[in-house]
Symmetry: C2
Subunit: 281 residues, 2 copies
């Protein structure tokens, strides 16, 4: 997905929000806005929004000296999600369609996104999303692809959401490569966060090599590129990975909640819709 004009003021807001997480003073926060503002002229709209976001979050870290502004919140969200695990596991095991129930729970986890300007409450949002209609629902194609697959590349998104992904991964019952960001960016899941989320128990965790809040092949390492090409099935979680991969030529299934108008419009759904969308299916 290309960068839309509306992404630019949104990225400025994100820079300010991330800066505030570091407890920087007003002068430092103003410098973040000054420098991100001056960056805009170097952003080609052909870039994916997550490539631009990478530059902006790097600017925040350089100015504040804080590499992982959301570290504390990430840990809290992982703990909070873990507390819900037993109850959710029971829900899946007693569901009429356990796979679909696990998909819904994994998408519900996608509300834990500190890059977007929306408040969330994991428990409430879980209850809502478990009953919500899908904006796009390519479930039959997904099941067909899954049934004929041995290996799955599962591209993770946010911390906390990552915990719920373990439940879906158990339902998939395949060899799973769980791809994470190479470095901290927003509240996205890194290698260490994936371990804290319990993903090492159900998958092989790999770094995508990217420093952007979404996988982009041009920035990925060879291992990720190989898996993206050769895995039987690719599952991509969240907006950031959609932004980075939506124009790729292979079959990918995107699981996400459309949390902003720009993404919703690009996908062709309404804001706040939940999505199970396959491309090139």
């Amino acid at each position: 997905m290309k960068t839309f004009l509306d992404c630019i003021p949104c990225l400025m807001k994100q820079a300010l929000r991330a800066g505030r997480q570091t407890s920087a003073d007003e002068k430092t926060l103003k410098r973040i806005l000054d420098e991100t503002g001056s960056l805009i002229k170097n952003i080609p709209l052909e870039n994916t929004p997550v490539e631009t976001a990478a530059d902006i979050y790097k600017t925040v870290s350089r100015i504040t000296g804080v590499k992982d502004p959301y570290k504390k919140i990430k840990n809290e969200n992982i703990l909070q999600a873990k507390e819900l695990l037993p109850e959710l596991e029971k829900k899946i095991n007693t569901a009429k369609d356990p796979l679909l129930c696990a998909i819904r729970i994994s998408i519900a986890g996608n509300v834990i996104d500190l890059g977007v300007d929306k408040k969330f409450n994991i428990s409430n949002d879980l209850d809502k999303i478990i009953d919500q209609d899908f904006g796009i629902f390519d479930y039959e194609a997904f099941k067909e692809n899954l049934n004929s697959s041995k290996t799955v590349l599962f591209i993770g998104d946010n911390c906390g959401e990552s915990v719920f992904d373990t439940l879906l991964i158990k339902q998939l019952g395949k060899k799973i490569y769980y791809a994470v960001r190479d470095v901290p960016v927003i509240n996205d899941v890194t290698y260490d966060d994936a371990i804290s989320s319990g993903l090492d128990k159900v998958s092989e965790i790999i770094s995508s090599g990217v420093d952007s809040p979404g996988a982009v092949l041009s920035k990925a390492n060879n291992h990720f590129k190989d898996l993206f090409k050769n895995a039987d099935l690719v599952i991509s979680k969240g907006q950031g990975n959609y932004e980075g991969l939506s124009l790729e030529k292979r079959t990918v299934f995107f699981l996400l909640k459309a949390k902003c108008q720009v993404i919703a419009q690009d996908i062709g759904v309404k804001e706040d819709d939940i999505i199970l969308k396959g491309i090139n299916i």
Copy 2:
């Protein structure tokens, strides 16, 4: 009021919205964002937000070649407000407290603000605001000041709202100077717009001399400055005029709806509260 950090991404959004009103193409809109982004480093937070806004809206006009991007909408809002006049006049005349009813209607008009990122519906918002509790309600002090006044400086804000101001001005029953912006900025009322709104029938229309979407004394002409100093009563409508005048030393009564979190926080009320606030009373 000083510029808050949150005003900066908001001003970027405003630049984009104003640019879109001119039907500029994507490349031109990107240039607007590039140039407004580069402006940020020159904005001291000690500036009032409306001084910064003036620079940003001038940038939009310079790049697009359109001096009054909101001209069509301004005219539509004036016409729409005029259609409601007979019904509103009846409401005031049959009200228990006609002055207060006219104040409420004048504040309700303040929802017609194209600088903020909120949708409005004049008729619905009128109904709501006529029954809404005030966040701050310095009505007794206002009436005392009014009773001992011969001349009133009434500082207008938006087009459409300006039509409702005629109803309040009739209730005041004083010599009124109605101050407008010197040039078009957002949907703020200019001299020509004031004539279209019928303000020449009930007041003496004067230009404040400012090109910002809010009166600021340092940018005002001498006539406005004299009136601001010497008028018996000053009534200031809307957020922009509050931003520009809230730190002045004379008694001013501000009538507005707090349409963003930054303004609400500065005033000490909740977002969407309606306000009749006197300073230095």
